[in-house]
Amino acid sequence: MNEQQQTLWEFMQQQSDKLLTQTLQHIGLTFVSLFIAVLIGLPLGIFITRKKQFSGPVLGVAGVLQTVPSIALLGFMIPLLGIGAKPAIVALLLYALLPIIRNTFTGITGVDAAVKEAAVAMGMSKWQVLFKVELPLAMPVIFAGIRTATVITVGVATLASYIAAGGLGEFIFGGISLNNTNMILAGAIPAALLAIIFDFLLSRLQKLNIKKLRTVTTDLPLLLLLLSSLYFIPSAYGTKLKAGFTPEFMGRQDGNLGLISKYGLKIQTLVINDAVMYKAAYEKQLDVISGYSTDGRLKAYDLVVLDDDKKIFPPYYAAPIVRENSLKKFALLEKILNLLAGKINDSTMTALNYKTDYLHQSPERVAKEFLVANKLWKPARNGNDGIVRIGSKIFGEQYILASIYSMLIKGYSNYDTSTKTGLGGTKICFDALTNDQIDFYPEYTGTGLLAILQPSPKIIDSLTHSKDETYNYVQKEFETKYSIKWLKPIGFNNAYALMMRKKQAKDLKIKTISNLKRFLESK
């Protein structure tokens, strides 16, 4: 435990620049959104106390916005506002709106009617009643709303890294993809601390007596503005092209780190979520993205893979990895899973992915069509010799593979299956496997080597040029370290790749990563 903390501390020291930048971005992002949310929410809340017929619709809409999953809301923003700070701020402020509007409304309507009547009867104008009586008396309730909104925003702001808006989410999601606990904690602990600290500070404000609140009410907007400005301090340097990489790619030796060390590539880089990255490239928000070579969206969005002429991306051959205990428990399992060995090459996989990702066909349908076409399909036997638990990571290709395996198992044995799809990144999936939550899932040799085993750079260098050496190495290591068996590879290589829009790449005559570097350095 002590050692763990030590290394976390070391990690944070080592990455202190990044950590500071991300924290400032996080605070800035939170308060820009909060500031705008207050600017909109407070008047809107006051408005609906005056025109009560609007209170239902306004609170309803704000409530619905609150229930939209955050990642979906961020996704909606991309066609409208692109990627980066703008859509993130808009999405965050939409989340912050409800508590602010609702508490303003509740606070003001909750002011004692006799007090309001007295104010009017003394001869105050509408505005005087609002500013001298209603707002000061509603302030504690309004503050509570702002407090709730702040905590929500600090939390949701971690997702801003999905759309290249920065913040502590870069560490958190990078850490999850990279199986790097220290990285996760380096993002999660400051994020949690921010939430706690802001909540505490606002609670202190809330408890001040009403009289002092008058000065606070004037100082608070200034404070919010100041904190908001933090976001704009760490500004990125600009280059001719803009790259968007996933948090996982950012932290990997066979990703951005390799691009920098082996190619010397210098490009303005935004951290972005895989789910929106391709679309952002298509919409010309980004020029270069880090993708997977078999991704269906490659075809859908008319992108082209740049040739990795210095071979920094190791082979990523997919194969099911299975708990050895499960192989004993389900005697037929290994044979059935190997039915698929060598059956899917790169272009087949890309085509299958295209069907789910772009044509929006269900993974089950794509899986069945594939099996039928390859004469592997057998109707399910509906047996009850136990349940094989299949895992998959949270992207289309893994869903398809999981479906195919599920159909094979049901068709060729009396086992039933349960699929646990959408298990976040590598770390979540692999932890599920080692902790006996699933029996197997499809993994990639490169991921096994670099994200899970993490051997010394020397070993990596010696292995990654060869497909077979990599496979043999992970197979041996997994067996001894984790009692997990790599079965035969399925055939395709879903390696990392840099991609650009076909047309732009052609126009700029960029075919390889070295071309890209030369283009960026030319004046």
Binding site: A118, A119, A121, S125
Partner: protein
């Protein structure tokens, strides 16, 4: 001073106030009396335009109030609410200074006036920086009254001002209310459902029911010349008490004759203007056998026994009610 002409207020189909007219003379206390829902509060709130009437006119000092901006109008009319309506986030001093602040008085003038009122209302200076929730109900009501009086408005509207107080505090405040010189210069309209309070404080009572004025007159007129059964019924429970309180020695003077009283018990000097209730209280307290009284107009003296006073009262009561 205040003229209300054919005033109506309809809430949908309900006629809360139905074409009522009345008049209040300068420095007079008018009481709007009635059960809840009779329209008395609605009527009151139309006078400072907290409620806009459906029809009718209100003139204050000959000026139509609907031709002024409501804010300006209200700054010239004091208003006291049942639950005092003090601003909880303002100190006592700030609460009282609300209207001067709206009228943009300078600081010194405001402070002086606030201090003056506090003294008149028997609150010490220590209360200036106290918040309303730290005051007792009676104190809160006094501050509410001070707030209404601070800019010395000619008109004062009071909506059940003593309704939330306990009986002891209420009668204490009633006494203060009657003694307060500031109020003697005001034209007051007060809403109450309390018959005793109405008779004690009112120069003039409008008894209302279902949005209409049933009878408009002095307390004595309501008692001794009720217009119909509703008025009789309304006053029935407290009739004797009210009659004692509204009849003065003066009004019975012509029915009293000087007598020789042989008993050796004590005598008391009775004020010519006292009401019978006061006389009754004092004579019981002193166990008096002789009541000595003097007509202040012609200096005529009479000494009577309590029994004679009572029989004069019964005679008066009969005569008046059969008039």
């Amino acid at each position: 001073m205040i003229k209300v002409q054919k005033l109506s207020k309809h809430f949908g189909k309900v006629k809360a106030v139905d074409e009522i007219s009345f008049e209040v003379k300068e420095h007079e206390n008018l009481i709007l009396l009635g059960t809840s829902g009779c329209g008395k509060t609605t009527t009151l709130k139309m006078i400072n335009r907290l409620i806009e009437p459906s029809a009718g006119n209100i003139l204050i000092d000959g000026k139509n109030i609907f031709e002024q901006s409501p804010e300006i109008l209200r700054r010239g009319i004091g208003y006291v609410l049942q639950n005092n309506g003090l601003f909880p986030h303002y100190t006592v001093a700030e609460n009282i200074a609300v209207v001067p602040q709206l009228l943009k008085w300078d600081k010194k003038r405001t402070e002086k006036r606030v201090a003056e009122l506090l003294e008149k209302l028997h609150l010490t200076k220590d209360y200036l920086s106290v918040y309303p929730n730290e005051l007792s109900g009676g104190q809160q009501q006094r501050v509410g009254l001070a707030r209404a009086l601070v800019a010395d408005p000619a008109v004062l509207l009071m909506d059940e001002p003593f309704g939330a107080l306990d009986n002891v505090t209420r009668s204490k405040i009633h006494a203060e209310f009657k003694a307060l010189d500031e109020l003697k210069r005001k034209t007051i309209i007060m809403v109450t459902h309390d018959v005793q309070e109405a008779f004690e404080l009112g120069d003039h009572i409008c008894l209302m029911d279902q949005g209409k004025i049933i009878q408009d007159g002095t307390p004595a007129e309501l008692l001794f010349k009720p217009k119909n059964d509703f008025v009789k019924e309304f006053l029935k429970e407290q009739r004797l008490l009210l009659e004692f309180k509204t009849s003065t020695v003066k009004s019975l003077w012509h029915l009293l004759s000087n007598e020789e009283i042989k008993g050796l018990g004590p005598g008391i000097l009775v004020n010519y203007k006292d009401d019978l209730w006061t006389v009754l209280e004092r004579s019981t307290f002193f166990n008096a056998e002789r009541l000595n009284m003097m007509n202040l107009e012609n200096k005529e003296m009479k000494t009577v026994s309590f029994e004679s006073l009572m029989s004069a009262f019964y005679q008066y009561q009969k005569g008046d009610s059969h008039e």
